[in-house]
């Protein structure tokens, strides 16, 4: 290598120069009559430390640091190779600590810290309503984009969206979006299920400022009742399902058997308006009624709230001014009309939140376990560091003699510190590199675990990115400096003479400095033990909790119970024919040998999905409603699940007929309401279910204790629907 030979020759020249100096000095002394030996030693004495002079001179060249660094690294590697056990333990410990931290940091970064990938995010606002009391909704749907409670939320009605669009002159554009029910997709290989689609208004992408990665995005022309259905794909979805082929643009796919054309792909970094979700495809809002059964009339009903609204503020419009304008619109909307949704004292108001802040997604829910994990791995890293510090300290103790020797041979304090620092940096960088490898395994393992427990939906895709790499690198280097410096300082402070006189191995134990260092070592051990106990105790508590959870009685028989899920509406079954399918399946599965009982329900028990219903108890005033979770069960449900009935009876065939009749009546009423909304006239004869028998209900023990203390609930009525036998 040219570079090396250059430095070598320059070094050699300096050495020659100094040797010449010594030779001439000795020659002079010889001339003056000294003996040859005397002359030479006198010349050397006068010259001083040759190594030191050379080093100081070379410092003048600059760049020597690079040469020194390379030398130090090589020397460090050599010493480390001489103690492979020590090296392996330190590198593995570091890799564990850094790997665990990088993995958790990657996950947190992907799940919690990611920014909303839109243009000028600070001009984008989310509309959020607040009130003292829940408003009188016909229906209210939220899709987990923002915090939603009884008295606040970010869903609005379609009429209000149109109102804001028409009169909200403070916005340069306003967009609406809503989650979609599960869709079936065919026309691209085997039929599959789309779990996360999103209906968006025509100016959704324009408002957010998203660019297409291929083709074009949804435009306002796509969002009219007469336009041909189009879809825009998520980038990853396009890559995975369509091989990222440009030919996918223009292709027709069938969503719930409706032909839709793929017109484009959104840019790669945009997965969803809210973090924590990945939307697979976007569909114009106007296409929705064609894809899904119109269970209500939500495009026209001002009391059906389901749209999330975001607006882009006009340049120069302050947030407060925009808020005042939109709030007035909102106030009119909810307090006017024949049956206002809110009374003036409810103080219903609208706030504009920066979209990045308001669209929290799943963030709050995943945050807590992640912070717990972060704490745990942080402690693990601390333990690792303490461990390494202890190892380096003890190693420094055994190396005191080496350091003393180096100091006597003319190595400056700074040089020794640099040497030791390089050595520990080499160690920690090696640990860091291994840690990154380890981290990618941990991330893969955690993601596999999440996917397994997440019902097929991956909430976010973590990757070891630049930020994480920098973090890891920072941690490695900091550890290296911190724990390389301590022994280095010890190395130069040591008293040379006793250290040199000592036999091989132990240092100068009689010096006070050494005792202090041993004390530091003891402190490290104490710290390490404390942290280990904290982590162990935490892990123990977690394991105990998990064990206890496993032993909790869910209230039904879990042994020999198999469950599966199907959604025939995706294949175009109407609610009635789906009902028949369920019954048919029940009969046929029951006839299998070894099957004791078969039933079906709306969702599986303990899935976390429940409907909530409001009802009135007899004798209570009309505006005082109560809330309860509701669960729709099929025939033989209690028998199949092994849920004991405390009193009354289970549902019989007659009960299901009654419920079906009631459902049909409700559907007719909704259809009529829809027709009224469309025509704008009020029908004279309200379609009241005439003398329908009450729908039977079964309530649980907790319900009875709360609403019927010390009474027999059997036969009581609740709300418009009366309840009948059965108590679990």
């Amino acid at each position: 290598m040219k570079f090396w030979s250059f430095w070598r020759s320059r070094r050699q020249e300096l050495q020659d120069e100094i040797q010449n100096h010594l030779r001439m000095a000795a020659a002079d002394r010889l001339d003056r009559g000294s003996s040859a030996r005397e002359a030479e030693s006198a010349a050397r004495r006068e010259f001083g430390n040759v190594g030191l002079v050379m080093e100081v001179t070379r410092d003048q060249w600059r760049w020597t640091w690079l040469e020194d660094l390379l030398g130090d690294v090589r020397y460090g590697l050599r010493t480390l190779r001489r103690s492979p056990g020590f090296t392996a333990v330190v590198i593995l410990t570091l890799a564990l600590g850094i790997g665990a931290n990088s993995a958790i940091f990657s996950l947190i970064d992907a799940a919690l810290l990611s920014r909303l990938p839109v243009r000028d995010a600070d001009r984008l606002v989310l509309l959020e309503w607040r009130a003292h009391k829940e408003l009188a909704f016909e229906s209210y749907m939220a899709y987990g984009e923002c915090r939603t409670g009884q008295t606040s939320g970010c869903s609005f009605s379609a009429p209000f969206f149109r109102e804001v669009k028409a009169r909200g002159e403070v916005f340069s554009s306003v967009a609406a979006f809503a989650g979609a029910n599960r869709l079936s997709m065919s026309g691209n290989g085997p039929a599959s299920v789309i779990d996360n689609a999103e209906y968006v208004s025509g100016d959704f992408f324009e408002t957010l400022g998203i660019q297409p990665a291929a083709g074009r995005l949804i435009s306002p022309e796509d969002d009219t009742p007469s336009s041909t259905p189009v879809v825009v794909l998520n980038y990853d979805f396009w890559q995975n399902q369509f091989g990222g082929l440009p030919a996918a643009i223009g292709k027709t796919i069938f969503l719930n058997k409706v032909a839709c054309t793929i017109v484009g792909v959104a840019e790669p970094r945009f997965n969803a308006p809210a973090p924590g979700t990945t939307i697979q495809m976007w569909i114009p809002l106007s296409v929705q009624p064609r894809l899904q059964l119109p269970w209500d009339n939500r495009e026209l009903d001002p009391k059906s709230w389901y749209l999330t609204l975001v607006g882009r503020l006009k340049p120069g419009t302050p947030l407060s001014q925009a808020q005042a304008v939109v709030n007035t619109l909102f106030h009119n909307e909810v307090t006017s009309g024949a049956k206002p949704m809110a009374k003036p004292e409810d103080a219903a108001s609208l706030a504009l939140l920066p979209a990045e802040e308001g669209l929290t997604g799943d963030r709050p829910e995943i945050a807590t376990p992640f912070y717990l994990l972060m704490f745990a791995v942080g402690v693990v890293l601390l333990i690792a560091c303490a461990n390494i510090a202890g190892l380096l300290l003890s190693r420094a103790t055994t190396r005191t003699k080496e350091m003393a020797l180096r100091a006597t041979l003319g190595a400056s304090a700074g040089r020794i510190v640099r040497q030791l620092l390089t050595e520990s940096l080499v160690l920690s960088l090696a640990g860091g590199a291994l840690g990154i490898l380890f981290a990618s395994w941990v991330v893969a393992a955690i993601m596999a675990f999440i996917v397994q427990n997440q019902d097929g939906r991956v909430p976010f895709i973590p990757a070891i990115n630049v930020r994480v790499l920098l973090f890891t690198l920072g941690v490695s280097i900091l550890t290296g400096i911190l724990f390389g410096l301590a022994p280095a300082l010890r190395g130069i402070r040591v008293n040379l003479m006793p250290a040199l006189k000592e036999g091989s191995g132990s240092s100068a134990p009689e010096s006070g400095g050494a005792r202090r260092w041993l004390a530091a070592g003891n402190g490290l051990v104490v710290l390490q033990m404390t942290l280990s106990i904290v982590v162990l105790a935490g892990a123990g508590v977690l394991v105990r909790t998990l064990q206890n959870l496993k032993r909790v009685d869910p209230g039904f028989e879990t042994r020999n119970l198999l469950t599966f899920r199907l959604d025939p509406t995706l294949l175009g079954y109407s609610p009635e024919s789906a009902d028949n399918l369920y019954r048919d399946l029940q009969t046929r599965l029951s006839s299998f040998p070894g099957v004791r009982s078969v039933s079906y329900s709306w969702t599986p028990l303990l899935s976390g999905w429940l409907w909530t219903t409001t009802f009135q108890l007899p004798g209570n005033p009309k505006d005082k409603g109560s809330d309860s979770d509701m669960f729709a069960a099929g025939p033989d449900f209690f028998q199949t699940m092994g849920i004991p009935l405390l009193s009354g009876r289970a549902f019989g065939p007659r009960d299901f007929e009654v419920a079906q009749a009631a459902a049909a009546a409700r559907a007719a009423k909704q259809a009529q309401a829809a027709a009224e909304l469309k025509s704008g006239t009020k029908s004279k004869s309200p379609a009241q279910p005439a003398n329908l028998p009450p729908v039977p209900l079964i309530v649980n023990h907790a319900f009875v204790q709360h609403y019927f203390p010390n009474q027999n609930p059997l036969g009581s009525a609740a709300g418009g629907i009366s309840q009948r036998p059965g108590e679990k």
Partner: protein, 119 residues
């Protein structure tokens, strides 16, 4: 060993550069020669430490005030010889006038009586 060095004077920061440049003004010299010349001209008072001399030589060379080349000496030895460059000569002039100013200033401080009596 302290005794042998008693007569020496610690060189002021920066004066070594001036002395080296001055010794090179009339003839190129090698490192040992420079140290001996300074010693002889100062009447054995100024003794240049090798640990200061060589770093200084390499620093001055890096600043292009002196240049070096390997030559064969009178007694057939390969030696590194330094000579003054054109910019080194300019530098020497500057350093000399700075030194003159400096010693005048010192003299003024040490012998204030003259000035006071004049006023």
């Amino acid at each position: 060993m302290g005794e042998r060095y008693q007569n020496r004077i610690e060189l002021l920061q920066g004066t070594l550069d001036l002395l080296i440049l001055q010794t090179l003004l009339w003839a190129p010299r090698h490192g040992y020669d420079i140290s001996q010349t300074i010693r002889a001209l100062s009447g054995e008072v100024l003794q240049v430490d090798a640990g200061s001399l060589y770093p200084a030589l390499h620093r001055l060379e890096k600043q292009k005030w002196i240049a070096s080349e390997w030559k064969i000496s009178d007694n057939k030895q390969r030696v590194k010889v330094y000579r003054l460059t054109a910019s080194g000569k300019r530098r020497l002039t500057e350093e000399r006038s700075r030194w003159a100013q400096f010693s005048l200033a010192i003299a003024g401080v040490l012998n204030p009586a003259r000035k006071e009596s004049a006023s």
